[in-house]
């Protein structure tokens, strides 16, 4: 039931007629992937620049993981063109893989090896790896260096997954729901890790269900719904958020009132004059990323 008029921003995201960008970290045109009768990815176009953190948002089943895993070379595609660091993932060899770091949703598996042993083994597959002990320090697992992988807690294991993903010194890092199962403090620590990796020049493609995470980390976010990219924007402007009407709420005569306006300052001034000074229970709010996101996927779902 999705009519083109209901998607005013879609034209910006449709770029099948634009050629692949050879300099982009990831460039995708008209990507299609079907599973039996259902179409998981249905003509998706996307460009991710080198050096940026790009967050891919979307409900379960929207095609996020399929798209990411096609880029990683794990899944085949039915149609479309994909270049990851200039190479078609379907034909990427060892040298190409050495440029990637992959943190899978499913993690890196159980192991009897210790964290340090796992990182040393992983490092030995790459041409120019990071020092395993430095990586352990970076993800905050130094104290667990001698502990076996399978005895770690959920959050520690996820940090180990990230450590395994970055030990090869990737140019491009894929992070598929990296902070699921983290407590709030661990997530903050993880965010600062991601920012320091960006400062080192790593491009990142992040998929997440946490909108605050996308807002905190991403240079740009893309919302994927029904196998297509609905919109790409900087977090503050997604869904016309930057220019959306502001909701002003207050209490007057014991009744909660609210009004949408493009000129909140004027409205608050008028209220202050009318109510004589302090406006009771005043709030001024722009739509949150979550508001616009839910509206966007609601339109399409």
């Amino acid at each position: 039931m999705s009519s083109p008029t209901a998607v005013p921003t879609a034209s910006a995201a449709r770029r099948t007629d634009v050629p692949l960008d050879p300099d982009a970290a990831i460039s995708i045109r008209g990507l299609v992937r079907r599973y039996g009768d259902s179409t998981a990815v249905d003509g998706l176009d996307l460009d991710i620049r080198r050096g940026e953190i790009f967050a891919l948002l979307g409900p379960n089943g929207a095609g996020k993981t399929t798209t990411v895993e096609i880029c990683e070379g794990f899944r085949r595609r039915d149609a479309g063109e994909v270049r990851v660091l200039g190479t078609d993932p379907a034909t990427g060899g060892r040298r190409w893989k050495a440029e990637l770091g992959i943190v899978l949703q499913s993690g890196a598996g159980d192991s009897q090896l210790t964290c340090r042993e796992l990182l040393r083994a992983q490092a030995s597959y790459y041409a120019d790896p990071r020092d395993p002990d430095e990586v352990l320090e970076l993800v905050g697992l130094t104290e667990k260096a001698g502990v076996r992988g399978r005895t770690l807690s959920g959050g520690q294991r996820r940090r180990l997954d990230v450590a395994l993903g970055i030990v090869g010194r990737p140019t491009l890092l894929f992070l598929d729901e990296p902070t699921t199962g983290f407590d709030p403090e661990a997530r903050r620590q993880f965010w600062s890790l991601i920012r320091s990796l960006r400062d080192l020049g790593t491009t990142m493609l992040l998929t997440t269900h946490y909108l605050d995470e996308a807002e905190a980390l991403a240079d740009r976010v893309g919302v994927i719904a029904r196998g297509r990219l609905a919109e790409v924007a900087v977090p503050a402007e997604l869904g016309g958020r930057g220019s959306a009407p502001v909701v002003v709420s207050w209490t007057e005569d014991g009744v909660r009132r609210s009004a949408e306006t493009q000129t909140p300052t004027a409205l608050v001034g008028e209220l202050a004059g009318r109510l004589g000074g302090e406006v009771p229970d005043l709030t001024v709010a722009r739509p949150t990323l979550e508001d616009v996101y839910l509206q966007m996927i609601g339109d399409r779902a």
Binding site: A108, G109, Q112, E117, S124, A127, D128
Partner: protein, 271 residues
């Protein structure tokens, strides 16, 4: 900046060495696999050796016969059962997929597994022979016997390793692999002349056993541990070493073909 960092990828040999180390640690640190694969045949030898030490005639005790069988069964466990269960587990928990996303040469993964099977098998054979000699007076092979011993065990474990890798693709996870493979292995042990004399097994079950590698490994090893007069007790009246080589070689070919066709680095339905 990237130009100064340009270095060549590690050689396949180096990565193979890493993988061999990883596989050995994974095996020997996991209590289940050590008990199941290494200790189980040892316990069988100790128990059966103590209970069933009757005379087979010609001054040969059953323990001498059982030595061939328990080594064959041990090889089946160290190769087929071990590979089927461990690879199914690694596929379902994401280990294989994760490795496939690295620049590790895929051949190095299989080299690591082969080294694991080789080391475990050699350790197992050594332990079984030492126990056999120390506790049950088992006569060790002599001269060309060792040569036969070497090729039967090598060909047998190659066939069973390949089959184990192939079977792993049929199972959803390690637990289901264990539940599928263990009863089949036990059944084959009962009908292939491991616990009982093969000549006591009903003819139709002998035919079933002859389809699988275990019977031929046990028979080939009996030719090493038993005096030639007992060859008359075999179904063909001889050790049939040519046929042993043929059947085990065929299973290698079939196993390899199945591996190439069925091996997956991730769970079904996610390619």
């Amino acid at each position: 900046m990237t130009a100064t960092r340009e270095r060549t990828l590690p050689s396949v040999v180096e990565v193979c060495r890493t993988r061999a180390g990883v596989e050995l640690k994974e095996f020997f640190r996991q209590r289940e696999s050590v008990v199941f694969t290494l200790m189980f045949p040892v316990i069988l030898l100790l128990v059966f050796g103590a209970v069933l030490d009757y005379d087979l005639g010609h001054g040969v005790k059953f323990t001498q016969y059982f030595m061939a069988g328990v080594i064959a069964a041990g090889i089946l466990g160290a190769s087929l059962q071990n590979m089927a269960i461990s690879i199914a587990a690694e596929r379902s928990d994401g280990t294989l997929k994760s490795l496939a996303g690295t620049p590790m040469p895929r051949s190095a993964f299989f080299v690591g597994k082969i080294v694991q099977v080789l080391v475990v098998t050699l350790a197992l054979i050594a332990i079984l022979l030492v126990i056999g000699v120390l506790f049950y007076d088992v006569d060790l092979p002599s001269g060309t016997g060792w040569l036969t011993f070497a090729w039967v065990t090598t060909l047998g474990s190659a066939a069973c390793t390949l089959l184990g890798v192939a079977v792993s693709s049929l199972c959803r996870n390690g637990r289901s692999a264990s539940a599928t493979v263990t009863p089949v292995a036990l059944f084959l042990q009962f009908i292939s002349g491991v616990f009982f004399l093969f000549s006591d097994v009903p003819a139709w079950l002998q035919t079933v056993a002859a389809l699988f590698p275990l019977k031929w490994m046990a028979q080939g090893l009996r030719s090493v541990f038993l005096p030639d007069v007992l060859a008359a007790e075999e179904p063909a009246g001889s050790w049939e070493l040519g046929r042993v080589a043929l059947v085990l070689g065929l299973w290698c070919v079939v196993g390899l073909a199945l591996c190439v066709r069925t091996f997956r680095w991730q769970d079904r339905g996610t390619d």
